[in-house]
Symmetry: C2
Subunit: 121 residues, 2 copies
Amino acid sequence: MDIQNTQSQMRKGVLEFCILSIIQQGEVYPSDIVEKMKLANLHILEGTLYPLLTRLKNAGLLNYRWVESISGPPRKYFVMTEEGKAAFAVLLQTWKEMTTAVDQLTQEKTNTAENSNQAVS
Amino acid sequence: MDIQNTQSQMRKGVLEFCILSIIQQGEVYPSDIVEKMKLANLHILEGTLYPLLTRLKNAGLLNYRWVESISGPPRKYFVMTEEGKAAFAVLLQTWKEMTTAVDQLTQEKTNTAENSNQAVS
DNA sequence: TTACAATACATTGATTTACAATATATTATA
DNA sequence: TATAATATATTGTAAATCAATGTATTGTAA
């Protein structure tokens, strides 16, 4: 029940960061993103991705250009703006700091209420 | 604008995991959790924490016991159930796998739409 | 003894967002 | 001409965090 929800929360938290990371590595259209995320075991649905890309574009972090396809309708290829690159650099730093903090948090020693109560003033 | 929101999403994603981690290390009451999270730069408000703890208790992962305080009303000290410990072990594994996946994702080479288009069939 | 401050548990309403389902449009193929 | 595959996009629902506020207990000071 709840554990799957917690796992889901963890994955949701890094969605935007990962998508920015993918786009920074090169032009992609939405299906590319879905596929790359799937390979990383971070599944995302189109109904989630499209509004998210629109959000990031409206925030000035992304742009897109239409590219004709030989096997279907034209595609929106997304690219990072300069603002987007700067934002990603900040997010990468945030990611590193957060993982360090969480890793530390999960490795701390065990206490009991009785011997750790001095925290209260 | 949006970058703070993305940072916030990242932190939200690990809230439950971190709180379970803290409780697994020893009995704590909510204010302890707020303080420990703050030290890890993962701020959480009481309005978020109380429903979350209730959720985890209803899911069978936590229990609590009342402990009298010398400086205020009695406190609910939370402890892990056996089920909670098992769930945390799974989540720790999920966390490790996810960070590995995200770290790989952020370190991949750069492509362009032109030279990576073979992904389409 | 009364009032106030500090501490602690708890709820409510608003906002955000992921998801499932579905809609619309284009291209190739049967 | 109809169908399948591909692609962009929207709608309604559910879940969860947050800010604000409420309720209760204890100690201290007037």
